[in-house]
Amino acid sequence: MILNFKCDYNPDISNSDDLNVEMAHLLSAQSAAGSGANSRRRAPKLLAVASGGGHWVQLLRVASAFQGCDVTYVSTHASYRSQVQGHKFLTVSDSSLSTKLGLIRTAIQLAAIVWTERPDIVVSTGAAPGYFALRLGRLFKARTIWLDSIANVEKLSLSGAKIGRHADLWLTQWPHLAKPEGPHYEGSVI
């Protein structure tokens, strides 16, 4: 199966003939490089999540891969909005896997975001907020990408190690950390 769109997002699709037409449109739009304006309304919804600092900088460096998607960015500093102009941008509170209360708050915020956005794809470069986003996205059948931070030279991050079986595409940025069962190495952000 090439496409994985949830057609119940399009209230105007009421019977199977319409559905086939819609699918054909989607297919042609998808095959065109940098799919243009006519596919915009039905572009896959992508939720891109990263903590502040290095995680965010790395997310921006892969953002060109999301071209043609309806992208919502989520991070921990409001001032990052200016770097993703033209896209939806939301903030969650910062937390790490070492502060339980902060974690719960971040998880609740992300649950609300995933519930509202219903993304087709969730992608994260870490850390804890991305972990929650992938787990919660999975509950709503989103496909998930984890790109472990390039900062983790000797071993995967805590979140990155735990997320493994919940990520459809599980990547490390270091060849020596790749394993046959994942994470895989497919290049890095620099």
Binding site: G53, G54, V57, R61, S64, A65, A151, L169, H184
Partner: protein, 165 residues
């Protein structure tokens, strides 16, 4: 201008105080710091806890020298601007981070010649004294490696796991 950044999450008084001491040896230099929650009160550095993303990039762009913790946000941004950067990795035993991954990051990026590494104050002073004005490096591209972009793109477009066939 010399720009010092230690991110925003945890204190790094060891670095801020070392740079402040160095700044005090020649007060004609302008030193600006994003010090995060560091508690040391510098005497010779203009210090703020947090800068907006744009402000941060402006300072990176204008800086002659960048001194930083070994955080990827600082390292990658410096490399994007083609700036020389001296990094001091945070240490867990000093309460500067939850673990020692910055030591590994610094070691690797240092061995690749991307950054200069200073483990302590003495090494930092030594690295700072070696700097010549106009000592820049070739900026890195503004996006990730083509292989990584292509893998992500394929996944986003295809709807199937790239490795499944």
């Amino acid at each position: 201008m010399i720009f010092v950044t230690v991110g925003t999450q945890m204190h790094f008084d060891r670095l801020i105080s070392a740079v402040d001491e160095w700044a005090g040896t020649d007060t004609s230099r302008t030193v600006v710091a994003q010090a995060g929650p560091s508690t040391y009160r510098p005497k010779f550095i203009k210090s703020v806890p947090f800068m907006s993303a744009q402000d941060f990039r402006d300072h990176m762009h204008q800086a002659r020298v960048i001194v930083s913790h070994a955080g990827m946000g600082s390292i990658i941004t410096a490399l994007e601007f083609g700036k020389r950067i001296i990094v001091m990795p945070r240490r867990a035993d000093q309460g500067e981070h939850r673990n020692d991954h910055q030591i590994a990051t610094a070691k690797y990026f240092g061995s690749q010649g991307h950054v200069l590494v200073a483990s302590d104050k003495e090494e930092l002073f030594q690295k700072l004294s070696q700097f010549r004005s106009g000592d820049t490096v070739e900026p890195i591209s503004s996006t990730a490696s083509p292989a990584l972009i292509s893998t992500l793109r394929k996944f986003v477009e295809s709807g199937s796991e790239p490795r499944s066939r």
